[in-house]
Amino acid sequence: MADYLLIDGYLELLRSHLRFRSDVDDLIAEAADHLCSTHDRLVFRGTETLEAERIALGLFGQPDLVARAMSGSPSGGLAVPSDSTIQAGSLAIWGGVLWLFAVVAWWPAGAIAPWGELDRNFTAILWIVGWCALMGALVLTFNTVGALHTRHGGLGRIGTMGMILTGLAVIAGMPAWVFLGWGFALALGLGLVGVAAFRRGIAPRMPVVTLGAGVATGGAVWVICSRSTGWFPRYTGIWGETWTINLAAVTVAAVVVAVGLFGVGAWLRGEEPAGFDLTGSLATTIGRAEST
C-alpha cells in the first residue's frame, strides 16, 4: 500500500513475526484493513495523514504484543520449510527434466515413425523410454504438489481436492489407456492446487501459475488444433488422425509444467529449514501445535 508509509512498515514487521503461520496473508490483510480504516476515518475528521497513521498504530498495539496474541489463535498449520520440502525441491527439478525428456524421446518416434522412416525396434524403445520418463515425471509432480501443501501448512479445501485429483490422475496415468480421463483429472487437480497456492501467496506466484496451468494449457492447445480447418498438419494413417495434435499438446503441457517445476523446485530447494530460530512467535506456535 503505497499511501501508508508507517502502516506498511508496521505490517511488514508483523508479517515477519507471523511468517510461519499458514494464514499469515489473511492475518495481515485483516490488520491492514483495520489500520487503514482507522487512518481514513481520522483523516476524514481532519487529522494530518502521518499523525493519523501514528494514532492508528498506537491504538492497534505494539507489533510484538499483537503477534504474540495472534500466535495463540488457531491456524491451519505451520507453514515452515523443512528438510523434506528442501529435498522435494530437488526432486521437483528432476521432475521437470523428466517431463522434457519424455517429450524429447517421443518426438522422433511421434513425428517420424508414423511415416515409416525409423526402425520399428528403435521406435518401440523410444516409446517405452518416453513413457517411463512420463511416469516418473508424474510421480515427481505429485511429490511437488505434496511439498507445496506441506510448505504452506495446508492448502485448504480447494488445494486438498486438487491434491487428491492429482494423485488419482497419477495412479490412473500408469494404465492410461484404461482410464481415459486421467489427463483431464491431472489438469483439474494441478489447476486447483495452483489456485490454492497462489491465493496463499507464500510460494513465488509465477512458477505456481505455470505448474498449475501447464496441463490445462496443453489441453487448450489440443482443442484449438483439433478444431483447426487445415492450418495444423494431421496424420491420417494407423496412428490415428489426432496423432500430431496429441504430440503438440503433450509438448506444450510438458514444457509449461517443467518450467513450473523448475521454479517451484528452485524456491523450495533454496530455503533454510526452520528450527534454526525457535524464538518468539514460532516457538509459541510450535509449542501449541505440539501440545495438540
Binding site: E30, S37, T38, L59
Partner: protein, 112 residues
C-alpha cells in the same frame, strides 16, 4: 477499564456486539468502544485473536470481500454462537445480580 478486567468477558462482549448483525473487525471494535462509552481500553490488535478463536470454535462464521481495493473479513453469529450468547448472557445476569445484591448490603469503607 483495563484489559485484565475484561479478560474472560471478551468473548461474551464480541458475541453481543455481533448479535446486531454481521460486522468486520474494525466495526466490531468500534461498536465495542462506543457501547462501553470508551471504557474498554484494549490494544485493538489483540481483539482479533478472540474473533479468530470464536470462529474456530464455530460461534462465528466469516467471509471475505473486497472493499476499496482492500480485502475485508466480515464476521457473523452462527446458530451455535446465538446459543452461547443466550446462555452466557443469562449466566452474566445471575452473576452480576448476585454481586449487586452483596454490594448493596455492604458498608463502603471511608477513604479519609
Amino acid at each position: 477499564m483495563s484489559g485484565q478486567a475484561m479478560k474472560g468477558h471478551l468473548d461474551l462482549l464480541l458475541l453481543a456486539v455481533l448479535s446486531d448483525g454481521a460486522k468486520h473487525g474494525y466495526a466490531v471494535i468500534d461498536a465495542l468502544r462506543e457501547r462501553s462509552a470508551e471504557a474498554f481500553d484494549l490494544p485493538e490488535g489483540t481483539v482479533y485473536p478472540a474473533l479468530h478463536r470464536l470462529e474456530a470454535s464455530g460461534m462465528l462464521s466469516s467471509e471475505w470481500s473486497e472493499v476499496g481495493g482492500r480485502r475485508r473479513k466480515t464476521y457473523r453469529l452462527t446458530k451455535k454462537g446465538w446459543g452461547s450468547l443466550t446462555v452466557e448472557r443469562h449466566a452474566w445476569d445471575e452473576f452480576s445480580g448476585a454481586i449487586m445484591s452483596v454490594l448493596k448490603g455492604a458498608t463502603w469503607p471511608t477513604t479519609s
